[in-house]
C-alpha cells in the first residue's frame, strides 16, 4: 500500500500504517463462536504533519470516529500500527503512554455532554493538567485564567458551571481543556456541527488561530465538506472503513476522481440558487460493514461500476503527486 504524500515520514507527527479495527460478532450463550467481524476500519494509512490539519470525511458508519479513537489510544488496533513521532504505539511503556495522552487531546461534537455539569469550569479545564503535572493551586489558577483568555473567554468564568454558558462558549471551554496540557495534536470530532450557524465561524476561526500561534496539528472528523475545505491541509475520504481518495483540499474539491467523492461533492448543496453541481444522486444506502460487498465496496452504489469492480479490490495508488485514489476507473 502506498504511503501518503511524499514529504517524507521522518518529520511526521502521527502516521497510521495499514491500520485495521475489526469487531468480532459472536453467537451462542456459553461457547461463543465467532460468526463474523464488523470491519469498522479496514486497512488505512495516513500521515499527519506538525502544524497541519488532516481531515477525514465520510458518512456515518464509515469508520472515521473509530480511526480517531485508535489515534487517541482509546481503542486498540486489530492490525497495523500507529506511529507517534516515529515510535510505534504498540510498544510504549506506561510512562510513555501517559505522556502520549498529554500530547494528544480531543474536542468532541456535543459540548452539552462533553462537560461534566457538576464541575466548575476551573476543575474541568485543570483536570488534565493536574493529572499530568505536579502543579500548585496558584499555578492552576493562573493557568486556567490564561487558557480561558486564549479561547476568548474571561478568567472570571472559572468559577461558573457549564449550564451558565451557551453552546459556542461551552465549545470554547472544551478547547481550553484540550489545550491545558500543551498538546501537539488535537482530535476534533465534528467540533461545530452541534453549534448554531452564526457561532460556527467563530469556533473555526479560533481553531485556526490556535493552530498558527501554537503550531498544533489537528485530526478533524467532519461531514461538512465546506468546513473541511476551510480547515484542512490534507483530506481523506472514507467509505466503509477504507480511504478511497486522499489529497490536498484544493485538488480534491476541484478535481475529484473517485465516484464516491464526486457524489459527496454533488450532495453538498451550495448556498447559491444559481450554482448547479454535477448531479449525482446515489441510489441505495451504505451497506453493512458486517457483510461488505465484494471487490470495490462502493460498486453497489457506483454509477460507473463494471464487472471488474464486483470482483477485484482496487489498488490504492498515487495518480498524481500527493493525490491517492482507490478506483478501477483510473
Amino acid at each position: 500500500m502506498v504511503a501518503t504524500n511524499g514529504a517524507g515520514n521522518g518529520d511526521a507527527l502521527v502516521r497510521l500504517d495499514g491500520v485495521k479495527k475489526h469487531y468480532a460478532v459472536t453467537s451462542g450463550l456459553v461457547l461463543q463462536r465467532n460468526i463474523g467481524a464488523v470491519k469498522a476500519v479496514d486497512g488505512i494509512s495516513l500521515t499527519i504533519f506538525p502544524g497541519e490539519t488532516y481531515s477525514l470525511v465520510g458518512e456515518s458508519g464509515c469508520g472515521k470516529t473509530t480511526t480517531s479513537r485508535m489515534v487517541l489510544l482509546v481503542e486498540p488496533t486489530t492490525e497495523g500500527d500507529i506511529y507517534y513521532e516515529g515510535r510505534p504505539l504498540s510498544d510504549i511503556n506506561r510512562d510513555e503512554r501517559k505522556s502520549f495522552h498529554a500530547s494528544v487531546q480531543a474536542v468532541f461534537q456535543d459540548p452539552w455532554s462533553s462537560l461534566n455539569p457538576r464541575m466548575r469550569v476551573q476543575s474541568i479545564i485543570s483536570e488534565p493538567l493536574t493529572t499530568h503535572q505536579r502543579v500548585t493551586k496558584q499555578e492552576v489558577r493562573t493557568r486556567v485564567g490564561e487558557l480561558l483568555e486564549t479561547v476568548g473567554l474571561n478568567s472570571f468564568h472559572a468559577t461558573r458551571y457549564p449550564h451558565e454558558f451557551s453552546g459556542g462558549q461551552r465549545q470554547r471551554i472544551a478547547i481550553a481543556r484540550a489545550l491545558s496540557t500543551q498538546p501537539k495534536l488535537i482530535v476534533l470530532d465534528e467540533p461545530v456541527s452541534a453549534l448554531d450557524v452564526s457561532i460556527r465561524a467563530q469556533i473555526l476561526n479560533l481553531l485556526k488561530e490556535l493552530q498558527s500561534s501554537q503550531g498544533l496539528s489537528y485530526l478533524l472528523i467532519a461531514h461538512n465538506l465546506a468546513t473541511v475545505r476551510y480547515m484542512s491541509h490534507r483530506v481523506g475520504v472514507m467509505y466503509l472503513g477504507k480511504i478511497v481518495e486522499e489529497s490536498d483540499p484544493e485538488t480534491l474539491f476541484s478535481n475529484p476522481m473517485h465516484p464516491y467523492t464526486r457524489a459527496l461533492i454533488s450532495a453538498s448543496l451550495p448556498a447559491d440558487p444559481r450554482r448547479q453541481r454535477e448531479e449525482m444522486v446515489l441510489t441505495g444506502e451504505v451497506p453493512s460493514p458486517l457483510n461488505p460487498p465484494s471487490g470495490c465496496t462502493f460498486h453497489t452504489r457506483c454509477p460507473f461500476a463494471t464487472e471488474e469492480c464486483r470482483t477485484d479490490i482496487p489498488e490504492y495508488r498515487e495518480l498524481e503527486a500527493g493525490h491517492n485514489v482507490a478506483c478501477h476507473l483510473y
Binding site: 448554531d196 450557524v197 453538498s268 448543496l269 451550495p270 448556498a271 450554482r275
Partner: protein
C-alpha cells in the same frame, strides 16, 4: 410552478410562553403568505421560533405554558385559531401535515410500519383490510421503499434512518394534504441520503401540487428547495424575499453576515467573517432591534423597533439602514 392562490396566510402571529422567569416571546408578530405549489423556507437558528411557528399553525403549541396571544392563521380563508380541537384534528390529517426532524422518534417503535400507515388511511373512511393494504403499498412505493409489501410487516428499528424518514414522508402525504410542513427533515441523514430525500420531496410536490414550508438552518437546502424565504431571528421575521432576491441582495445585516459566515466548498478562503456574540435569550430581549447587540452597522435609531421596509417588490427587511432608500 407556483400560482397565485394563497392557501395559508399567517398574520401577526404571536405565540408566547408564560414561565416563572417571565414571558418568552417565541413567536412575536410574524406574517407571511404561502401560495399553492410553492415552497417557503423558514431559516433561523435554534430558538429563533421557526419550529414554534410550525406548531402554532398545526395547533400543537405545548399547553399550558404556551399560548397563541395574537394574530390569525388563515387556511383556505378560515381562521385556524377559531377551530375546535376536533376540527383541527381533521385538518392535521388531511389539510396540513408535518414531517418532524427525527424519524426515529416520530414513528412508534412498537407498531409495524403497516399499522402506522393504516392508522392514517383509516381516518378517511371505513375500508376493507385488503384495500387498506393495497393503498399502503402504493404509498410506500411512491417514496421508493423497496419491496413495500414486505416492509409493511417491518418495525421502525429494522429500517435505516433514510428509509424511516421516507416512511414518515409517506404517512404525511397519505391523504394528499395541501400543505406539508417539513421541520429540518434531513438533519439526521447523511449527505448522499439527504440529496435523495430532497429530490424525492421535489418530485412528490410536482406530482401533488402541495405547498411546502421547509424549516431549516442550512442555506444550501434553501437555495435548492425554496421559492421564497423568511429569515427568523429572536421570534421575528427579519427578512422575507424570493430566493434569488435573498441570495443576490441580502438586505438585513443578519442575513448578510450569516451568508458570509458559511464556508463555501467552491472557494478557498483563509478567513471567514464571523458574527460576534451569542444568539439572544428570548426572555430578555432588547426593546429595539434584537440583532442590534451583534450588528456591525448599529446606530442610535436601532434602539427603536424597526418596521418592515420594502427593498423591492416581494422583498422586505426589518432594519433601519433600509429607511429612506439607504
Amino acid at each position: 410552478m407556483a400560482n397565485n392562490q394563497t392557501i395559508l396566510k399567517v398574520e401577526d402571529l404571536r405565540t408566547h410562553f408564560f414561565t416563572r422567569s417571565g414571558v418568552v416571546k417565541a413567536v412575536d408578530g410574524i406574517s407571511f403568505d404561502l401560495h399553492q405549489g410553492e415552497t417557503l423556507g423558514i431559516v433561523g437558528e435554534s430558538g429563533s421560533g421557526k419550529s414554534m411557528t410550525a406548531w402554532s399553525i398545526l395547533g400543537l403549541v405545548p399547553k399550558p405554558a404556551g399560548r397563541i396571544v395574537g394574530g390569525r392563521i388563515l387556511y383556505q380563508g378560515e381562521d385556524l385559531l377559531e377551530k375546535s380541537a376536533a376540527e383541527m384534528r381533521e385538518i392535521r390529517g388531511s389539510g396540513i401535515c408535518m414531517v418532524m426532524q427525527d424519524p426515529s422518534t416520530s414513528l412508534n417503535p412498537v407498531f409495524t410500519i403497516g399499522n402506522q400507515v393504516y392508522e392514517t388511511l383509516r381516518m378517511d373512511s371505513r375500508q376493507s383490510r385488503s384495500s387498506l393494504r393495497q393503498k399502503a403499498v402504493e404509498i410506500l412505493s411512491s417514496v421508493r421503499i423497496p419491496a413495500p409489501e414486505r416492509r409493511l410487516a417491518s418495525f421502525p428499528h429494522q429500517m435505516s434512518g433514510g428509509m424511516r424518514q421516507r416512511v414518515v414522508g409517506a404517512i404525511a402525504m397519505a391523504r394528499d394534504p395541501n400543505v406539508l410542513i417539513a421541520d429540518e427533515p434531513t438533519t439526521s441523514l447523511d449527505a448522499t441520503i439527504q440529496l435523495q430525500y430532497l429530490t424525492l420531496l421535489k418530485e412528490i410536490q410536482a406530482a401533488t401540487g402541495a405547498a411546502i414550508i421547509f424549516i431549516t438552518h442550512d442555506f444550501g437546502i434553501v437555495a435548492r428547495m425554496c421559492d421564497r424565504v423568511a429569515v427568523m431571528y429572536a421570534g421575528k421575521i427579519v427578512e422575507q424575499a424570493d430566493v434569488l432576491q435573498l441570495f443576490d441582495s441580502p438586505s438585513h445585516p443578519y442575513t448578510e453576515a450569516l451568508l458570509r459566515s458559511v464556508p463555501d466548498l467552491d472557494d478557498q478562503t483563509d478567513y471567514l467573517p464571523s458574527i460576534d456574540g451569542q444568539p439572544p435569550t428570548l426572555d430578555n430581549l432588547p426593546i429595539g432591534c434584537s440583532f442590534a447587540p451583534r450588528c456591525p452597522h448599529v446606530f442610535a435609531r436601532c434602539e427603536e423597533f424597526p418596521p418592515e421596509f420594502e427593498i423591492e417588490p416581494g422583498h422586505q427587511a426589518r432594519c433601519w439602514i433600509r429607511y429612506g432608500g439607504n
